[in-house]
């Protein structure tokens, strides 16, 4: 029986879609069968981040309205054969789907997939209500900024009101150099403020921008952000993984690369 995970943040631009794409790819790499669903009606993005934008024929609204069968709308990932995308509609508005319809769809998908991952739109309106309707658990993405943390706190309150009890925190775009000089809140600071268990922190890594430009995931790579996403995926499946050192100068990978550079 699959698990429905919603990836949400409240604030826009903190990295929900990139997180969805990378966790989808990371879990698929672990041999899980995955479907990622873009629930942002009118502002389709997940297809672009995954590099699948040219293959879209049908979308989420078509499936819900019965214009096509689910299989016809699904797009198989380029790299992982067990990773599928159900894209959003670019033309419909956010009232085209109701929460009950979304819940019915995700409930049906549970028998075919290990994880159903929903990329939630920003905001707390109907798109958010749709995305959380069938969710078993939520991953809350934030960055170490006042506005993003404030919105994350509101979202946490709304998720608890909706009786979604398993909440985990992802802190994105951590810059250890800034944390060290006291100009960025640390992973510990943010976790303490939000009082939700941390499932992973992602360093602000330029390889994410490069991979996104190419429509690829960083998970499964040796880059720091890739390793951080892989660790989150393992923790999602229940494995215990120690939290990594995000410092680019003293971290394990930096030490490793220095060893290789010497030779």
């Amino acid at each position: 029986m699959g698990e429905v995970i919603v990836i949400t943040s409240g604030k826009g631009g903190v990295g929900k879609t990139t997180t969805t794409a990378n966790i989808g790819a990371g879990l698929a790499q672990m041999g899980k069968k995955i479907i990622v669903i873009d629930t942002d009606l009118g502002l389709r993005n997940l297809d672009v981040v995954m590099g699948l934008e040219n293959r879209i024929v049908y979308n989420l609204v078509d499936v819900i309205e019965g214009n096509c069968r689910l299989k016809q709308a699904l797009i198989q990932d380029k790299r992982y054969s067990d990773l599928y995308l159900l894209p959003s509609a670019q033309t419909k508005d956010k009232t085209a789907i109701a929460p009950e319809q979304m819940k019915k769809l995700t409930d049906e998908l549970k028998s075919d997939y290990d994880y159903i991952i929903l990329d939630c739109p920003a905001g707390i309106e109907q798109g958010f209500q749709n995305a959380i309707a069938g969710a078993d658990r939520a991953l809350i993405v934030t960055t170490p900024e006042v506005s993003a943390i404030r919105d994350a706190d509101r979202i946490i309150g709304l998720l608890k009101d909706a009786r979604i009890m398993q909440l985990d925190l992802i802190i994105n775009r951590i810059r250890l150099d800034m944390v060290r000089r006291g100009d960025m809140m640390s992973v510990e600071d943010v976790t303490e403020i939000l009082s939700v268990p941390l499932i992973g922190a992602i360093p602000d890594d330029e390889h994410i921008v490069i991979a996104t430009n190419q429509g690829e995931a960083v998970s499964g790579s040796s880059y720091m952000a890739g390793q951080a996403y892989d660790n989150i995926c393992k923790r999602i499946t229940g494995m215990e993984v120690p939290f990594m050192d995000l410092d680019p100068d003293t971290g394990f990978l930096a030490k490793l690369s220095r060893i290789f550079k010497k030779n």
Partner: protein, 69 residues
């Protein structure tokens, strides 16, 4: 040397989250803390620097923690 900006961010967040969580006016937290301090200091010896009010999503819970010596 310039002061680090994290304490400012944390202070602003603290007030913001309380305002959001209990849905009150921005200065309510300050006032509430002040009044709670006055009430508690009537019965227990506390110093202003160590007095702190936390508001969370959980059910109401009052914890009084003594100063470390």
């Amino acid at each position: 040397m310039r002061k680090s900006s994290v304490p400012i961010a944390k202070d602003r967040l603290k007030t913001l989250l309380i305002t959001d969580r209990v849905n009150c006016k921005p200065n309510t937290y300050e006032q509430m803390s002040k009044e709670l301090y006055q009430i508690i200091s009537k019965y227990i010896e506390v110093s202003k620097d160590d007095f702190d009010v936390h508001v969370t999503h959980s059910k109401i819970q009052i914890t009084l923690v003594g100063e470390e010596n």
